[in-house]
C-alpha cells in the first residue's frame, strides 16, 4: 500500500490484504481492517457528503459516529456510518444529500441563505397564502432527509438474536472495562464484555505515550486484552454496539457479523445481575466559525487515522486543543512527517510537563491560552485564524488539517437512559455521573480519570462492586480497592466551556441539523430557554449522531448566554437506541408464535385456507368459493366435520368451585347436572357479555366448561380475580391444548358416529343437551356433547390431543358413505347465523350486554352466596330502552350489503349490520344486526347505509329469529 505507513506497532490494518470498494464508479483500494471512511480517506476523499440544511461540505471529524458527516449510502442502504462500518470487498458507496456530487453540489448556494433561515423559520413562513403551503411542503420533503431508500429494497443476510444471561455485563472494552471484567471474573463470576470496536483496548490502543514503567499504553492495553481473552469466565463480544440499558439489569446490544460469521447482524439481549459502565469519553467539539469544514477533525480522529490505520491525515496541521491527548497526537503526527504549524492550547496550566518538553525538543510552536477562531477554505480547509479568547493577537496560519478538540466529555448515555443522572462538575468542566441506576457501577474515564493506574484501579473497584451486587461478600477486598484508588491521581482538571468572540453564524453546535450558535441565541431569545426546549425548537441533537456533538456544548452555552450557573443546566435526555440499529436486526428471526390445532396438517392437505385468528391459525375455507356454498349445503343435507379444537376447555374442582362459578357465570350454577350440558355466559362489571360456553358436572364439586376461543387465555385470571377476597378453595386446570374438539354436524352425523363407538347413542341414550363418555376405536376415551350451534344434529367430541388424528381418520372413514366433508370457520359462521346463534365479537361489541343479545333468560337474579359479576349493571340496563338490540334482518332487495354497514334514519345512526349473507338454507338474504331498541321490533323496516352508496339506502325487514328451523326439530332429532 503506497499511501500507508506500514511499520507502526499500533496498526490494526493488514496492508497486505487489499479491499476494493467503489465510489462514484471509481475503485478505491483499502486494506483489511479499514472502515469504509478510512479506505476512502486514504484514497484522497475529503468530502463525504453534504449537510442537511445548508449543503455544506462535510468530512471526517470523529471516528465514532458522533455525527452524520460521514453517513453514506452503502450497497443501497442509506445512512450507514462509513467511519464505523468495516470495509468489505465489492461495496458500492454513494454520498448523500447532494444534487450532483459531494464535491460539486448544485445546492451549495443554500449555505449563503442562512440569514433567511433563523431558528424555527419554517414556523413563521410558507403558510401565507394558505395555497402556498402544499407546494412548499413538497419542496421541504424533498430537501429533508439524508439518505434514500428504494421501496423495493430487500435486506439480505441472516439476522439473528441471542438472549444470554450473566452475572456481570461490562460495557466498554477499554482499560477500566477490561480490568473490571477481570476482577469480577476472578471472583468466579460469569462476565460478558461488550466492545463496539473490532478489538479491545479503548483509548490505550492507539497511544504510544509511556506509563511510569516505560511501557507504551498500547502495549499495556494489549496485555490486558490478552488476559481478558484468555479468561474462561469472560465472554468477549467485540463488534458489539450498545443499544440500551434498562431496569433489572437488562442490556441490549447488537453485534456485527464478519466475513467468517454466519450472520449479518445479531441482536443481543443480556440479563445481568450487575452492569459496569466503562464507556469512557468522547471529545468536546470546539466552537469557532466553520468548525466543521472538511480538514477539521478531533484529536482522536487524527491520532487514530495515523496509528490505527496508517494514514497521514494531512500535510500541514494546526492544533487547537484543550487536553493532553491533543498534544500526544501532535507528537505522533509530527514524528511521522506531518508539519505541525502551531499548537494552540486553551490551557495555560495543568499540561503534562513531559509532553511540553517533547514538543519543545521538536521545535513545535506551542501557544497556551489560544484557540481557533475561524477556519478558512471554501470547500476544504486552507487555513485557520488563531487568537486569544478575547479576540486579541490573531494570526492566520495556512494548513490542510486542523485538529480541534476542547476537551473530553463522558459517555453517560448508558446511565441516563436508565434513570441515572449527571451533574456539572467544575473541576473537570464536564457532566459527571451523579445518581447511578440500580446495580450499576462505573469505571474509568467516565469518572473524569486520566491517569492509567487510576483508570485501571477504578476498573478493579467496579469489578468488585459488581461482585457485591451479585451477592459476593468482598468487603475486605473492596476496602482495599477503594483505598488504592484514593491514593492514585483523581479526576483531571478540565477546561471550562469557552467560545471565542465569533458571530456564531457558522459556528455549528450541531452538525447533523446545521444548528449554529446564532440559532441557539435566537431560540433562547424567543423564550426557548432550556436545553430541552431548544432541542425541540432548533432540532439540535436530533439527527443521526444522536447528540454526540451538541450534548456537552448546548447546555453550557445556554448557561453562558443567559448568565446562569453551569450547575443549573444539564444535557438533554438521551434516548435509546444509543447506537442506531437496523430494524432487521431488532426483528431478528421474526418468529410467528401461533398455535396450531392437532388437525392443522390434515386440514392443510385437504385444501384448507388458513387465517390467523388470535393466537391460532385456523382453516377458514375449504375452497376458493368464499361463500362456502358446498360446505354449508353438505352440513345441511349430509354431514360435515369441523375442527373446534381452539375452544377454551377448563376443569374447575374443589369444595368452593360452585361458588366461584356462581360469581362469574350469570346462571344458577347449582342447576348444572351430570350427564347434561348447560349453555351460559359471563359478563363484566358493566353487564357486557365477555364470554359464553357450556358447562357440565363431572362429579361432586367437579365441573368442566368451555369458553370462546378468544377468551380462553384470560379465563383463569378472570375467575381468580373475581374471587380474590373470599378465600375460595378451588382449583382450575386449563385443558385447552390438552383436548382437541371434533364437531360432527348434519342429519347423517349419528350414522357416522354409531359406526365407531361402543355404546348406544340413540336420541334416547344421548339426547340434545346430553353429554356422555365413550370409547372410540376400541380404546380412545372421549366424551361427547350434543349441541346445536349450526342448527343440525350435532356432536361435539372432546378427544385427547394426541389421539385427534386417529379419531378424525376413523370418523372420516366411517363417514365416507354418508358424504362427510370438511367445513371451515366461515361455513360455520353462515350456518350458525341462519340459526340465529351469536358469536361474541361479531354480534356484540364492547358495550353489548347480556340483555341486548337476548340472553337475559340465562341470568339468575337471586344468588344468595355470590353476587354475579355484572348483575348490578344488568338491573340498570333493564330500564334503558335505547340500547342496541340484536335483531334478525331480511333484505327487501337482492343486494347483499357488506358486514359492518350502518343502519340509519334521516339524521342518526341507529345500529349496524353484524353478519349478513345470501342464505343457502332459507329463502333470501338474511343477517343479524344490532339496532336501537325502538327499531328492534319484528315488523319494522330499517334503512342500511352502505359505504359508497351516495345516499341510496337499502331496506330490510326486522324479522323474528332464527331464520332456520325455528322449532329446533333438526338439532334435537
Amino acid at each position: 500500500m503506497m499511501n500507508r505507513i506500514t511499520n507502526l506497532p499500533t496498526l490494526k490494518i493488514d496492508p497486505s490484504k487489499a479491499v476494493s470498494l467503489k465510489y462514484h464508479d471509481i475503485p478505491y483500494q483499502g486494506c483489511a481492517g479499514d472502515t469504509v471512511a478510512t479506505a476512502l480517506y486514504a484514497g484522497g476523499v475529503r468530502i463525504f457528503g453534504r449537510s442537511l440544511k445548508y449543503h455544506r461540505p462535510r468530512g471526517l471529524y470523529s471516528l465514532d459516529g458522533e455525527c452524520s458527516n460521514t453517513c453514506m449510502e452503502i450497497d443501497a442502504i442509506p445512512n450507514e456510518r462509513s467511519e464505523n462500518l468495516p470495509a468489505r470487498d465489492g461495496m458500492v458507496v454513494r454520498e448523500q444529500n447532494v444534487k450532483g456530487s459531494a464535491e460539486h453540489d448544485k445546492l451549495s448556494f443554500i449555505d449563503k441563505l442562512d440569514w433567511a433561515m433563523p431558528a424555527g423559520f419554517y414556523y413563521h413562513t410558507m403558510h401565507k397564502p394558505a395555497a402556498l403551503w402544499p407546494l412548499a411542503m413538497k419542496q421541504i420533503r424533498k430537501a429533508a432527509g439524508l439518505g434514500r431508500l428504494s421501496p423495493d429494497f430487500r435486506q439480505t443476510g441472516r439476522f439473528d438474536e441471542i438472549f444470554p444471561s450473566t452475572e456481570v455485563c461490562v460495557i466498554g472494552g477499554g482499560p477500566s472495562g477490561m480490568q473490571a471484567a477481570l476482577s469480577a471474573a476472578e471472583q468466579g463470576l460469569r462476565v460478558i464484555l461488550l466492545e463496539a470496536r473490532p478489538w479491545l483496548g479503548g483509548f490505550y490502543d492507539y497511544r504510544t505515550v509511556q506509563d511510569d514503567h516505560a511501557v507504551p499504553l498500547y502495549e499495556r492495553g494489549r496485555k490486558l486484552a490478552e488476559k481478558v481473552s484468555a479468561h474462561p469466565g469472560i465472554r468477549v463480544l467485540t463488534h458489539t454496539s450498545l443499544v440500551g440499558t434498562y431496569n433489572n439489569g437488562l442490556v441490549t446490544a447488537f453485534r456485527r457479523g464478519s466475513s467468517e460469521d454466519s450472520f449479518a447482524e445479531r441482536y443481543i439481549e443480556i440479563r445481568a445481575k450487575s452492569v459496569v459502565v466503562a464507556t469512557g469519553c468522547i471529545e468536546r467539539p470546539l466552537l469557532f466559525e466553520n468548525n466543521e469544514r472538511p480538514g477539521v477533525m478531533q484529536a482522536g480522529c487524527a491520532h487514530r487515522l495515523l496509528n490505527t490505520f496508517g494514514i497521514l491525515p494531512g500535510k500541514t496541521a494546526v492544533f487547537a486543543v484543550g487536553h493532553d491527548l491533543g498534544l500526544e497526537a501532535a507528537l505522533d503526527l509530527h514524528d511521522q512527517g506531518v508539519n505541525i504549524a502551531c499548537i494552540a492550547d486553551l490551557r495555560t496550566e495543568g499540561q503534562n510537563p513531559d509532553l511540553l518538553k517533547a514538543l519543545e525538543s521538536r521545535d513545535i510552536t506551542y501557544q497556551p491560552g489560544q484557540t481557533a477562531l475561524e477556519a478558512h477554505g471554501k470547500k476544504l480547509l486552507t487555513g485557520v485564524v488563531l487568537g486569544s479568547m478575547d479576540g486579541s493577537s490573531q494570526k492566520t496560519l495556512p494548513c490542510d488539517l486542523l485538529v480541534a478538540s476542547a476537551g473530553l466529555t463522558p459517555v453517560s448515555g448508558p446511565l441516563t437512559i436508565n434513570k441515572g443522572s449527571v451533574a456539572y462538575d467544575a473541576h473537570t468542566g464536564s457532566f459527571l455521573p451523579d445518581k447511578l441506576p440500580e446495580n450499576t457501577r462505573v469505571a474509568g474515564r467516565i469518572l473524569g480519570l486520566g491517569d492509567p493506574e487510576a483508570i485501571e484501579a477504578s476498573g478493579h473497584l467496579a469489578g468488585l462492586q459488581a461482585a457485591q451486587d451479585c451477592g459476593l461478600d468482598s468487603a475486605a477486598d473492596l476496602q482495599k480497592a477503594e483505598q488504592a484508588l484514593a491514593e492514585l491521581p483523581g479526576p483531571e482538571k478540565g477546561t471550562d466551556f469557552v467560545i471565542g468572540p465569533v458571530s456564531g453564524r457558522k459556528s455549528f453546535i450541531c452538525f447533523d441539523e446545521d444548528t449554529t450558535i446564532k440559532n441557539i441565541k435566537q431560540a433562547i431569545n424567543k423564550g426557548f430557554d432550556v436545553p430541552e426546549l431548544i432541542k425541540r425548537f432548533t432540532s439540535a441533537g436530533t439527527g443521526p449522531g444522536q447528540g454526540g456533538i451538541p450534548d456537552h456544548n448546548l447546555p453550557l452555552f445556554t448557561a453562558l448566554y443567559q448568565g446562569s450557573a453551569q450547575e443549573s443546566v444539564r444535557p438533554t435526555n438521551r434516548r435509546p437506541p444509543l447506537t442506531p440499529i437496523f430494524l432487521s436486526t431488532y426483528a431478528g428471526r421474526n418468529h410467528d408464535m401461533a398455535k396450531r390445532t392437532p388437525m392443522h396438517d390434515r386440514q392443510k392437505q385437504d385444501g384448507g385456507i388458513f387465517r390467523r385468528l388470535g393466537v391460532w391459525r385456523r382453516a377458514r375455507y375449504f375452497s376458493e368459493d368464499l361463500s362456502c356454498r358446498q360446505e354449508v349445503e353438505n352440513v345441511r343435507s349430509n354431514v360435515g366435520i369441523f375442527d373446534g379444537s381452539t375452544l377454551g376447555k377448563f376443569r374447575i374442582h374443589g369444595p368452593d368451585c360452585l361458588k366461584a362459578l356462581d360469581r362469574v357465570f350469570v346462571s344458577d350454577m347449582h342447576k348444572v347436572k351430570q350427564g347434561r350440558i348447560k349453555y351460559t355466559a359471563m359478563c363484566n362489571e358493566d353487564g357486557c357479555v365477555i364470554d359464553d360456553g357450556v358447562i357440565t358436572k363431572m362429579g361432586e364439586n367437579d365441573y368442566f366448561f368451555t369458553t370462546s376461543t378468544g377468551r380462553a387465555g384470560a379465563t383463569v385470571e378472570w375467575i381468580r380475580y373475581h374471587t380474590r377476597y373470599e378465600g375460595r378453595d378451588f382449583h382450575m386446570v386449563n385443558l385447552t391444548d390438552a383436548f382437541g374438539v371434533i364437531n360432527l354436524s348434519g342429519p347423517n352425523a349419528r350414522k357416522v358416529i354409531e359406526k365407531v363407538v361402543d355404546q348406544d347413542i340413540s336420541n334416547e341414550a344421548l339426547p340434545f343437551s346430553g353429554v356422555k363418555g365413550f370409547s372410540i376405536g376400541q380404546n380412545v376415551e372421549v366424551f361427547v356433547m350434543r349441541l346445536g350451534f349450526v342448527g343440525e344434529l350435532s356432536y361435539e367430541i372432546h378427544v385427547p390431543s394426541s389421539y385427534m388424528e386417529s379419531v378424525w381418520d376413523l370418523l372420516l372413514e366411517a363417514g365416507q358413505e354418508f358424504g362427510i366433508m370438511n367445513f371451515g370457520v366461515e361455513a360455520q359462521n353462515v350456518l350458525r347465523m341462519e340459526k340465529g346463534h351469536i358469536i361474541l365479537g361479531q354480534e356484540s361489541e364492547q358495550r353489548t350486554n347480556l340483555l341486548d343479545v337476548h340472553l337475559g333468560f340465562l341470568w339468575h337474579r337471586d344468588k344468595p352466596e355470590a353476587k354475579t359479576v355484572g348483575s348490578l349493571a344488568l338491573k340498570q340496563a333493564e330500564q334503558d330502552p335505547d340500547r342496541l338490540k340484536l335483531v334478525g334482518l331480511k333484505m327487501q332487495e337482492a343486494k347483499v350489503p357488506g358486514d359492518g354497514c350502518v343502519i340509519v334514519d334521516e339524521s342518526r345512526i341507529r345500529g349496524y349490520v353484524c353478519t349478513i349473507r345470501k342464505s343457502f338454507s332459507v329463502d333470501g338474504i338474511v343477517g343479524l344486526a344490532l339496532v336501537e331498541g325502538p327499531l328492534a321490533k319484528p315488523g319494522s323496516v330499517v334503512s342500511i347505509y352502505e359505504d359508497e352508496c351516495k345516499g341510496n339506502l337499502l331496506k330490510a325487514d326486522v324479522v323474528p329469529l332464527p331464520f332456520y328451523d325455528p322449532e329446533g326439530a333438526r338439532m334435537k332429532a
Binding site: 414556523y123 421541504i140 432527509g145 434516548r575 435509546p576 387465517r611 366461515e826
Partner: protein, 408 residues
C-alpha cells in the same frame, strides 16, 4: 454576553398573580387550546395556564402527531371532524405554520373481520360527511408502493380504510402556536409551576395553590394528560375510571420521501408516517401494565421492528434512532371524559384521552372554553359525561373489550 433583540414567542416571563378568572392546570394542547378559545370566543383573557414542567413536555410533545376523523361512533366523529377542519383556520389565525401535512391515512386491514370493522367506520364516516373509503389490496399497493401485499406474511393485507382528510402536523408547532395565541390575547403561561392543591368552599372552586403561590379563582380546568386522574383524585377526591399506561414512539434516521401516507395496522399494532424531516415516526400499543413512568422498554421497539418489516419490508434497511415514552390515560370505553360543574361548581375536567389527545385538541379546546365561559354543557360534549360510567353506558368507541388491568 450580548443578546440580540427578539420577542419571546409566548410573552415575557411574568410573576404569578394572586387571582385569575380561570386557572388551567396543564400546559399541554388541551389546556392551551382552551385558554386560546376562552380569549378568542368569549373574551376571557385573565387566565393562567400552569405547568409543572414546560409547555408541550407531556403527551403534546410525545405523540406521533397523527390527525384523523374516522372514529367509530357518531358521538365522536363530529368532534374529530371539527378538530381536523380547525388546523388551517388556526394556522392562519395564529400566524404560525403548524405544518399540516394532509397526506391521508391508510389503515390496513388484515382479515375478513377487520374489513367488516373498517366498513362500519367508513359507512359511519360517509354518513356523517367525512371522506373515507374501503380499498382492496391492489388499490392499497398503488397508493403506497412500499407495502407488501403478498400472502407470505403472518397477517396478509386484505385491504385498507383510506381517509384522505387526515394527516400529520408538527406537534410542537401546535403547542407553540397556541401558546403564542394565548399570550397574544394577554393570557399568562407559567412554566415550572406545580399545582399543590385545588381548594373548594361550599361546593365551589375557591383557589388553587401552586409552588409559586396561591391563586384565587372561581374556575379550574384540569387538563393535565396522564396526570389528570391523579390530580383530580388527590386534590378533589373524585375517582375517575382511568388507567394510566406508558405508550412509546420512535423514529428512524431521516430519509428522502418514501411513505406518502400515514400507514397503520391494527393486527400488527403499528402506525407509522414519514415526518417532514424525513424520519419514519412510528408507535404502537401501550405497555401491558399501568404505570406513571415514561421509561422505554427493550421489547416494544423490537416488536415494532418485527411488525414493520413484515408489511413494509424495505424498512429493514433503516435504523431506529430514538425512542421515547409518554402516558396514555385510558378509560374503559376509549373515549374521553369532558365534564364540569358536576360535584363541584366551577371545576372542569378534560381527560381520559388515551392516545387520541392530539388529534382532538383544537375542537375540544373550543367546546371546553364554551363550557367554562357559559356554564352550559355544550351538546357536543354531553355524551362524554363522567356519569356514563355510573350508568354502565359505554360509548363503543372500540369494538373489542378493553382491559388494561384487572384493577381498572
Amino acid at each position: 454576553m450580548e443578546k440580540t433583540q427578539q420577542k419571546p414567542l409566548w410573552g415575557p416571563k411574568k410573576p404569578l398573580k394572586s387571582s385569575y378568572d380561570a386557572v388551567i392546570v396543564g400546559g399541554g394542547l388541551h389546556g392551551l387550546a382552551t385558554a386560546y378559545f376562552l380569549a378568542r370566543d368569549h373574551g376571557i383573557t385573565d387566565v393562567a395556564v400552569i405547568d409543572k414542567n414546560f409547555i408541550g413536555y407531556g403527551g403534546a410533545g410525545r405523540n406521533t402527531a397523527i390527525v384523523r376523523a374516522n372514529q367509530r361512533t357518531q358521538e365522536n366523529v363530529p368532534l374529530y371532524k371539527e378538530a381536523l377542519d380547525l388546523w388551517p383556520v388556526l394556522t392562519k389565525e395564529l400566524d404560525f405554520n403548524l405544518m399540516f401535512n394532509n397526506c391521508g391515512n391508510l389503515n390496513l386491514m388484515h382479515s375478513e373481520a377487520a374489513m367488516k370493522a373498517a366498513r362500519m367506520n367508513i359507512s359511519t364516516a360517509q354518513f356523517l360527511g367525512v371522506e373515507s373509503h374501503l380499498l382492496d389490496k391492489k388499490q392499497v399497493k398503488d397508493l403506497e408502493p412500499a407495502l407488501n401485499v403478498s400472502e407470505d406474511i403472518v397477517y396478509p393485507i386484505h385491504g385498507a380504510m383510506f381517509h384522505p382528510p387526515g394527516g400529520i402536523l408538527r406537534h410542537d408547532a401546535v403547542v407553540w402556536g397556541l401558546a403564542k395565541g394565548v399570550a397574544g390575547y394577554g393570557g399568562d403561561i407559567h412554566q415550572q409551576t406545580e399545582v399543590t392543591a385545588i381548594n373548594t368552599e361550599k361546593g365551589k372552586i375557591a383557589s388553587v395553590d401552586t409552588s409559586a403561590g396561591s391563586i384565587k379563582t372561581p374556575k379550574v380546568l384540569v387538563a393535565a394528560g396522564g396526570y389528570s386522574a391523579a390530580i383530580i383524585n388527590m386534590m378533589l377526591g373524585i375517582r375517575l375510571p382511568i388507567s394510566v399506561l406508558t405508550i412509546q414512539a420512535m423514529v428512524t434516521q431521516p430519509l428522502k420521501p418514501l411513505l406518502d401516507h400515514v400507514v397503520s395496522s391494527g393486527a400488527y399494532h403499528v402506525y407509522c408516517n414519514q415526518t417532514l424531516k424525513g424520519e419514519i415516526a412510528t408507535g404502537a400499543h401501550m405497555d401491558a401494565w399501568p404505570n406513571y413512568t415514561t421509561l422505554t422498554t427493550a421489547h416494544y421497539i423490537k416488536h415494532q421492528a418485527e411488525a414493520l418489516t413484515q408489511f413494509l419490508p424495505c424498512l429493514a434497511g433503516l435504523k431506529f434512532m430514538r425512542i421515547w415514552g409518554g402516558l396514555a390515560d385510558m378509560t374503559p370505553d376509549m373515549a374521553p371524559i369532558m365534564d364540569g360543574n358536576d360535584h363541584i361548581r366551577g371545576f372542569f375536567m378534560d381527560c381520559g384521552w388515551g392516545y387520541f389527545g392530539f388529534k382532538s385538541c383544537t375542537s375540544t379546546g373550543k367546546y371546553m372554553a364554551e363550557f367554562m365561559a357559559t356554564d352550559e354543557y355544550p351538546e357536543m360534549l354531553k355524551p362524554f359525561t363522567l356519569r356514563r360510567y355510573e350508568q354502565h353506558r359505554l360509548m363503543g368507541e372500540t369494538p373489542a373489550l378493553v382491559n388494561y388491568s384487572p384493577d381498572n
